[in-house]
Amino acid sequence: MRYLPLTDRDRRDMLAAIGVDSIDALFADVPGAARLHDLVDLPTAKGELEVERLISQMASRNVPAGSVPFFVGGGAYRHHIPAAVDHLIQRGEFLTSYTPYQPELAQGTLQYLFEFQTQVALLTGMEVANASLYDGATACAEAVMMANRLTRRGKAVLSGGLHPHYREVCETYARFVGFELAAQDPVPVADEDLAGLLGRDISCIVVQNPDFFGEIRDYSDLARTCHDSGALLVVVVTEILSLGAIRPPGAMGADIVAAEGQSLGNALNFGGPHLGLFASRDKFVRQMPGRLAGQTVDADGRRGWVLTLSTREQHIRREKATSNICTNSGLCALAFTIHLALLGETGLTGLARLNHAAAVTLAERLTRIPGVRLLNRAFFNEFALQLPSPAAAAVDALAEKGVLAGIPLSRLYPDRTELANILLVAVTETVTADAMDRFERAIGEALS
């Protein structure tokens, strides 16, 4: 087998060196009743060519976003990833290294994590960011739990504009970790009275910007009201590229930012792996979850990096840790860092502008179709359209014509009939003028 270097002769020699006559002797501690004597009922070994053939056949049955006019977003966005990103993250020294527990052998990983943390802090307008979490949804749940610890309160308010998966993850954690949630109903582009829900038991209010329906809002007043009430403001961002165009959560007074970083450097991957971003204020750093890379000096006084403040973490603190997280999204963070390094200030703001321009253009064209209404007042690269008929039917009809039109809200809110006619449409720089033409034509036909 190509991945196994030992030859039969090696195995015999090694067994002899160990002083046993068969490999079975080394499994002697396994109770007899639990020993498998035969192979399990699965196919036997295959060469690389055969494996490639079998798995490629599965891949070929899917419709890749890049092969059709594509407008699906909802927390995962298709952007162009420069070729250098994937080339660099596949360098074996990055790809096949472990968590940097031995800093002298992992300065490469530690330095890029330090750069990543700095980029995330700059982008979100926060003071400090960690070295990543699994994804935006789990980052959101971690943010609520951190707010609970900081305020010693046990109830969080979730805006109805929060991504429904994020809300559901919070609900799962709430049930088992033991905290309460006041989750508001999803009413697209409505003005919620979240401040009115504040009280002595509320640890934080969680809002999303742009929200799940694409709407952008200023949360500065809400931040102040939260702080007056001893609560924190948690801002979720599911399209991190938006921060190339709009005012960041830090500038609005956010205390914790939980975000999804997939848009930079990372492919859609059918939903994973993605990249949880987590940022906060310096004064809260000791309650943050996850790993942190920090600057220090070596024995010669030279600048270097280590993992730091580990006394928050499970491998040191065990049952008193701030989170149970261990493995995070290191390589996805590297992809993010490289993509953002390539973009820089000019590229990021330019890319954000391209996305916004494309979204505005398409929104204006689609709202010329009779019966189609744009719900948003302000949006970045995603918007909600009210259709005259169920959006799921339109999406299916367009899929038949080779157009992936967006997300019918019924997929995420099957019980809310009032949302059934709403279609969520995302437009990025990857959408061509021809794709917009085809979308406009196809949806016009589907609705007529």
């Binding site: 087998m1 991945y3 196994l4 270097p5 030992l6 195995r11 490999i23 080394l26 396994v30 498998l36 192979l39 399990v40 699965l42 056949q57 599965m58 420069p82 250098a84 660099l88 990055f94 290294s97 968590t99 300065q107 490469g108 990983t109 330090f114 990543s132 998966h165 559901e168 088992f176 200023d218 709009i246 960041p248 939903g271 994973g272 792996p273 942190l292 024995a299 006084g301 990096w305 730091t308 403040l309 499970q314 491998h315 065990r318 840790a321 390589l331 390094a341 390539l342 200030e345 000019t346 990021l348 703001t349 502008r353 916004h356 321009a357 505005v360 302000a378 949006f379 997929r411 995420l412």
Partner: protein, 520 residues
């Protein structure tokens, strides 16, 4: 260039062991590299973008004010920067990476190639199900392989890594207990467990009740039985355990746990030792996470992403988190909500459907090995660990007698009275060109050195590693403590001051901050 990184401390100049300082600060192939923020030239950019046609912005007056502060670099600078950084890393591609409990094995490149096929990498989790049948088939096939290998009837696929899988398992157990109308308050965790185990139990609202080990490095069954009562929700056991030993009384343990009405959770981090030779279901386990980034070779990526599917017994399957993948009348379909069939699901643990990119890699790995190859994986992993154990047993101090499974545990007894610690030995090993073993874990022996070679090391590689360790042990006995304390010398940085890093944390680049070296 690189004036900031020159060695400036006087101590270094006096230390004869330190290589001479070069004019550039570089040392041959070890190139100093500034942060991207220190290479900024405003306006420079590593991508070329078109200008959009004129449009009326719809940002609601919330345009960003002022600069973000991101540096401008060209593509060649970015490529060089990250290439140089990569050269400061050790990796499984460069050599043996014997971190115990981490299973750092070869990462086959066909897996990378397949995960990047547009049919997997460029599909959206919320595009219509009719456009992703192949993706669903791949997930279903992966689940089938994992079910056969574990003997368990259900697999929860969404957890993002091992610790997330633990949460999934303990939440499912709590849901099952609550469905029985029981509120139990404790989880038993052996003292040798990974830190994630007690952290997970605590996160799920349980008190953590530690269970001591016996002199053979296993759970003390008498102690365990004494703790088992109607208040215990679960036992979280790692098997093989973190001492590298198979819990040989596991059937008795499982029976006792079930007798008490509790569930048996197994941390599957060490599944590599038994894959294809032992099915966890046959050990009486109710629930076990699998680290696809360990046993099934998906790359660890410097700290993730991982994937932690959880195998569940029939008694827990109904509580598996959303989404579920089910065989419907029209083929495979995702159940994304608590509909009638999934009404008891614990809910969602993660956005979307799980770590698809890792699923592709893990399935490619399993198909490559097949039933026969996977069994050989376990056998070679165990053989390699025992070979190292025997080669080292006269020079290091084995913590427990007899054969081990996939990893060999030593303590620092052999360093007694040398003035040299486990950490010093590890740092000396770095100078010899090796990544050290896991240090100071498990906590049940003093100064632990936990060595897991994995099955992808050749006999020659093991021999070289063992010879080096033996030589270091001899050097330690010879009284060369100063040499150990000064190591590592040949790395891009020498020993780093972790205490200073934690005392005054610098967690991001700050243009205003004074460089510590500039002060020197």
């Amino acid at each position: 260039m690189n004036d900031w990184s020159r060695a400036v401390s006087n101590r270094a100049a006096e230390d004869v062991a330190t290589p001479a300082v070069t004019a550039s600060g570089n040392r041959g192939l070890q190139i100093e590299e500034k942060l991207i923020f220190e290479q900024d030239s405003p306006g420079r950019c590593g991508v070329d973008l078109v200008e959009p046609p004129s449009f009326r912005a719809r940002l609601g007056g919330l345009e960003r004010q002022g600069a973000i502060g991101l540096p401008g670099l060209s593509e060649p600078q970015v490529v060089r920067h990250f290439t140089r950084l990569s050269q400061k890393n050790y990796a499984i591609d460069s050599g043996i990476y014997p971190l115990g409990s981490c299973t750092m094995k070869h990462n086959p490149r066909i897996n990378e190639k397949l995960a990047r096929l547009p049919g997997f990498a460029d599909i959206h989790p919320l595009q219509p199900g009719s456009t992703v049948p192949g993706a669903l088939a791949l997930i279903d096939t992966l689940a089938h392989w994992l079910k056969i290998l574990t003997g368990m009837p259900a697999i929860a696929l969404s957890p993002g890594a091992g610790a997330h899988g633990e949460l999934c398992g303990i939440m499912s157990i709590r849901a099952a207990l609550e469905a029985r109308g029981e509120r139990r308050s404790r989880v038993l965790v052996p003292e040798s467990a990974h830190g994630t185990n007690p952290a997970t139990a605590a996160a799920c609202g349980y008190g953590v009740d530690p269970v001591a080990g016996n002199r053979r490095g296993r759970v003390d069954v008498t102690t365990l039985k004494a703790k088992l009562d109607a208040d215990v929700a679960a036992l979280m056991l790692t098997n093989p355990n973190t001492c590298g030993l198979f819990e040989d009384q596991i059937l008795e343990i499982a029976a006792a746990v079930h007798e008490a009405g509790a569930f048996f959770y197994c941390d599957g981090a060490n599944f590599n030792a038994i894959v294809g030779r032992v099915r966890p279901a046959d050990l009486g386990i109710d629930c076990m996470h699998l680290n696809l980034h360990k046993t099934f070779s998906t790359p660890h990526g410097g700290g993730g992403p991982g994937s932690g599917p959880v195998a569940l017994a029939a008694s827990l399957a109904a509580y598996a988190p959303l989404p579920w993948l089910v065989h419907g009348p029209d083929g495979l379909e995702l159940v994304e909500h608590k509909t009638s069939q999934a009404r008891r699901a614990i809910g969602r643990l993660k956005g979307f459907h799980g770590q698809m990119g890792m699923f592709v890699r893990a399935l490619a790995y399993m198909m490559s090995h097949g039933a026969d190859g996977l069994r050989q994986v376990a056998e070679d992993a165990v053989l390699n660990a025992n070979y190292l154990r025997v080669r080292l047993e006269n020079d290091l101090s084995a913590s427990f007698p007899g054969p081990c499974m996939h990893e060999a545990l030593f303590d620092d007894g052999f360093l007694k009275d040398t003035g040299i610690t486990t950490l010093d030995l590890a740092k000396a090993l770095i100078d010899e060109g090796y990544h050290p073993m896991t240090m100071y874990f498990p906590l049940v022996v003093h100064g632990a050195l936990l060595i897991e070679p994995t099955e992808t090391e050749s006999k020659a590689s093991l021999d070289q590693f063992a010879d080096t360790l033996k030589a270091l042990a001899a050097k330690a006995r010879s009284g060369d403590a100063a040499g150990f304390h000064a190591s590592p010398r040949w790395t891009p940085r020498r020993r780093l001051d972790e205490t200073a890093a934690a005392r005054k944390p610098i967690l991001r680049w700050d243009p205003q901050a004074v460089d510590p070296e500039a002060e020197g």
